[in-house]
């Protein structure tokens, strides 16, 4: 572990205060477990302490944090220790029943689709921005987004509109599927 240049206290406090909820939210959505999300949360900020990446802007820092959450969550989910534990996916409480159904449906998507859905619908990134975050081609992200929405429609059995056009540059509008009972 390098001992060289560490981020100063003011920077770290700003990062935790400003982006702590975002990091935690992404970690919960990605791992499906609040306990795992706490581990990811702490790991991400400890890594931030030591990274020498020069952040050109707040958006750059935010993107770095999101990537760190995705990477650490994948490491955690793929770890031998994690695989040997019982499934700790929790019954997370939601204020609206349809939120719980949407959550469940999203969690049942393949991992790569889940990332895109999270970033698009929950964090408001456009497909071009998602592509940059995940290191994919924009066309790939759009294709995967369409497949993710088709899968969500199938899971929710409702009026989830998989044909909604995908903004490539502007912010996406938060969207919910409507489940039919």
């Amino acid at each position: 572990m390098k001992s060289a240049n560490l981020r100063d206290e003011a920077f770290m406090e700003h990062a935790i205060s400003e982006y702590g909820d975002l990091v935690y939210r992404m970690a919960v959505l990605h791992t499906g477990s609040r306990e795992d999300a706490k581990d990811v949360f702490q790991e991400v900020f400890l890594n931030l302490l030591q990274t020498d990446t020069p952040f050109a802007s707040e958006e750059h820092l935010k993107a770095w944090l999101l990537r760190a959450v995705l990477h650490r969550s994948r490491d955690l989910l793929g770890s031998a220790y994690r695989r040997h534990r019982a499934d700790l996916r929790e019954d997370l409480p939601f204020s609206e029943p349809e939120d719980a159904e949407l959550w469940d449906a999203v969690q049942r998507l393949p991992q790569m689709y889940r990332d895109i859905i999270h970033l698009y619908y929950f964090e408001g990134y456009a497909t071009g921005e998602i592509a940059a975050l995940l290191g994919k081609k924009p066309a790939t992200v759009r294709t995967q987004m369409r497949r993710a929405r088709q899968a969500l429609k199938k899971l929710l059995g409702g009026t989830f509109d998989e044909t909604e056009p995908l903004p490539q540059d502007g912010r996406a509008v938060s969207c919910r599927g409507t489940a039919q009972k």
Binding site: S3, E13, I16, D21, R25, D39, Q50
Partner: protein, 271 residues
Amino acid sequence: MAEQFHAEEPLKNETRQKIADARLRLSQPKKRRPRWQPVVACACALALAVGLSVIPRPQGVSTSASETSNSQNTLLDGFLLTAYAADENIQVPDKASHDLVTFEGNGIGVWNGPFYSGCLFQIEGPDISTVTLSIDKGSLYLEHDLARNPDGSDNSSKELLQNPVTLSLQEDTAIGFALDPETYASIPEGGDLKEGWHNCLDYFNGATLTMAITFTDGTTQTTEHHLKAGGLKVDENSTGNERVLLPVEVSKEEQTSTPYIYAIYDEDFVS
């Protein structure tokens, strides 16, 4: 929906504390190991090298630097690797902080079973939570209960490990290089017992041992050790009970006339 998930203040405060702890640990000046790091070596049933003698040591286990008069417990990047041995005083030069050097010691080859080399090391550090080890050639084993009976006989037990394996470090254990039964059976026996034994250790030539150390603050450090096996020269000016090991390789031809200890070691140790 996702707005319901917030990082609560206790989590943020705990994270702030871990960051402060990590900052303190990473900011501390690194202590240098003394040039000569005394290590207590274990006797081997086979002759170790020309000119060496096995001297029974007092009961008990001794590997750490704290037991030597002028040594310091020096931890570079949070951990220290020390060769474990039991019966003979061998001093290892402090050539590099994390070089792995192990000497053939009280090993055993089990008929139709595994081979335990006796080449052992310990990982030490104040804040180590777990260690994950993997090796791409051969196996690893755990030597438990590093102690001797009152009569000086070995009282330890050996356990072949999974690969990879994650361990919580315990005081009376050391980690060593082993061969599973199938691999052991395939090693040429050689012309005599010593050659056969060294053929087993030679199996680790070119192996890579990967060590991922997780500290109590959740951070990890991973190191790779590219291994060699062979004779390491003993300083001919060593006197008495002490044998001073040099980072100099002794070829098989030279071993007939040069004092050496057969070892499994980091290739960086001799570079």
